[in-house]
Homo-oligomer: 415 residues x 2
């Protein structure tokens, strides 16, 4: 069962927004055994959309479209779909009632004709209920294929995928099983790992694929397979995993099935211990804290954090003694250990992570070379720090610091 | 001059990573007058890559490819390009020297044959220097068209774009001028804005396009045009801007040319006043702080922030009196004003933003309905707060809170 995703909107093609919708849709489809074969982003342009729809329908069984369903003149997805299917628009009274209720409840401006016209849908389409917005999703079945149009606003799209699209796809399409297993490694580069596992990789059965996913100091290895027999597929992938594990055991930090996010693993370990984490950041600029709160439920293991971007704030807010800063420089092991220790005390947590460093592009309040980073970890028993050189690119320094800090904390939690 | 971007890699199609590279490339090409017509993401699969290259080359003059240049077996971009051009690989001694120097300087594992083989490039290709990595970029000219392959690692790709790709494109291609003007509005929905400016929009000359970019409580309107005469293009877009401004003046928060990021505007205003900002976050989970430090140079106007995710931390770290929390609930105007006031004091800043609310999906330490948010602003003269209802989706609540907080601060800075 093959799907393609088409995103419609100039804003992606001029780079004004990053297309996060496609990754979400692809993830969700994968879970139910639908593979995404291609993602195509095109402009709000009639001709181009028509060609893209035609080409996609040659390759895929399920075509998912996002964007261009808004109420304004640059939103042409609905009329273009009508043209593609030789269809016309009719008012859907249920959709109209929903639009009117959203305006009554949440919107202070009066409802207009433009808003009411969002209830116009192609006669061949089933309107899908958009809980959070005024533009309905569209489900158009043609022969064995289905075309699904959704608004581009991420939370509206996500709700449509969960409550309307996935249940319908599961009901209407017979799908193979897809199974992934991901191993997160630290400390070795992609090619060094490849050299280690070369002969194992050469012997992989053809229905199982291996992908290397390097990212700022960590490499994830993803084994994935597809098959009609769920049990057999799972067994064959798990047996390959049993073979690869001993080859990499010294560098494996985390093994996940679906759960790719290392902060989830950390949160689970903390919750099991009934312990809490706090963070004290400098060069990571809030990224560590944001990473922990991204998924709901963080408050069961995460107290919060301090971002002391200015050197002075390390004294004022984190109570790092001025003498320690002066004697060691603000980018130092002594300072980062004070930060971790004091964050732990301040937040009454059990663990704390602290970062200080020069992320560049210019040197800040210290003479440390760009890329120099100290990470401090406070545990219930001890405080320690390590120094790293993370290269010259700002992105790289920030992201490698975040990943390394999470690795160090995970090791402590597992030890 | 039309470009297309092709990203190669299963990880995008299974949703394991979000494609941020394409937005970056598109933005940079736009600045030099090259339009991106389509972005296509395909798997690490020979046949599919060959077809995509062929189709893209029919539509575009410049084909940019990212991904699949790594050293491992799943990286097939280079060999597939060879097959596409009927070419073979030869060793590039300069690239080899660069790889060896990177290993000598930064990598602790010994260099292997797999690493050395990254210096193999197609004979028809010019190898582009990859400052931060071992995989060279490739520049292959065929007739009037050029194919450019780059690694998928974002900071390697960005450096290649800046130092190798853009300078070569500017030299080799004659390009039209592209001009954008973006207006950021607050407080009115997309369709209400459309109704207000309908007759103006109907009269827009055909070489100018208007796009509505709604995002969590703010709508950006982007005027864009393309032309061979830079001066005439600029004048025509600025004259349309002069017409639209009075229609929207009550809801315009910010007018930018290239600079789309409201935090940059805020930072510029603070720097001009020689004043500093701090933040105290709860429901926004660190997003506000991260937003301010995303771009370098934040330390000239931003002291830092506190994320008090746990209620107890609001007392422990931000010194919000227990009585105020108990008398008003942790999600209240009284608490958020204390948070703002105390963050300002703690960080010795001039302004502070604070947030508290229930982002969902479950109720936390307060009885406030999901979506209820209080934003507090402390200025050199006063402290105030406002209450908002931001709906039921977690994404929406967090992002609307961040945008609204920035709007409130911007208004204060401009008043």
């Amino acid at each position: 069962m093959i799907a393609e995703i088409i995103t419609i909107g100039d804003e992606i093609l001029i780079g004004q927004i990053v297309d996060t919708n496609s990754a979400y849709i692809a993830q969700e489809l994968n879970k139910i055994g639908v593979s995404v074969h291609q993602i195509t982003s095109v402009e709000d342009e009639r001709e181009h959309i028509l060609t893209t729809l035609k080409e996609a329908s040659k390759r895929a069984d399920i075509i998912l479209i996002t964007g261009g369903l808004g109420p304004t003149k640059d939103d042409i997805t609905k009329t273009t779909l009508c043209e593609y299917f030789g269809d016309t628009l009719v008012r859907d009274p249920q959709v109209l009632a929903h639009i009117e209720s959203i305006f009554a409840k949440y919107i202070s401006t009066p409802i207009s004709e433009i808003n009411r016209d969002q209830s116009l849908v192609p006669t061949k389409a089933l309107a899908l209920h958009n809980e959070y917005g005024t533009a309905p999703g569209l489900w158009i079945k043609e022969g064995e294929k289905v075309f699904i149009a959704m608004p581009g606003v991420p939370f509206e799209m996500k709700s449509l995928i969960q409550h309307e699209v996935l249940p319908r796809l599961i009901k209407e399409f017979k799908r193979p099983f897809i199974y992934h297993k991901t191993i997160r490694t630290y400390g070795l580069g992609e090619s060094a790992i490849a050299a280690r596992i070369e002969s194992w990789e050469d012997d992989l059965p053809s229905h199982i694929k291996l992908a290397y996913l390097p990212s700022y100091g960590t490499v994830r290895l993803r084994l994935s397979g597809k098959g009609l027999n769920e049990e057999a597929l799972k067994i064959s992938i798990e047996s390959e995993f049993e073979k690869i594990y001993p080859l990499l055991s010294d560098i494996i930090a985390d093994v996940n099935g679906e759960n790719e996010d290392i902060t989830i693993t950390i949160r689970q370990l903390l919750e099991r211990k009934e312990m809490y984490l706090a963070v004290a950041e400098s060069c990571t600029g809030g990224e560590l804290a944001t990473k922990f709160t991204k998924n709901p439920g963080a408050s069961n293991s995460f107290k919060g954090g301090v971002l002391t971007y200015a050197t002075q704030s390390k004294e004022d807010v984190l109570n790092v003694p001025k003498s320690i800063i002066n004697d060691n420089s603000v980018v130092s092991g002594a300072v980062v250990e004070e930060m971790a220790k004091n964050a732990k005390r301040l937040f009454k947590s059990d663990y704390a992570i602290a970062t200080t460093g020069n992320a560049g592009p210019e040197k800040g309040d210290s003479d440390a070379e760009i890329g120099t980073v100290f990470i401090g970890i406070a545990t219930p028993e001890k405080v320690f720090s390590e120094e790293f050189k993370f290269g010259r690119s700002r992105d790289q320094v920030v992201n490698k610091t975040v990943n390394k800090a999470l690795e160090l904390l995970l090791k402590e939690l597992l030890s």
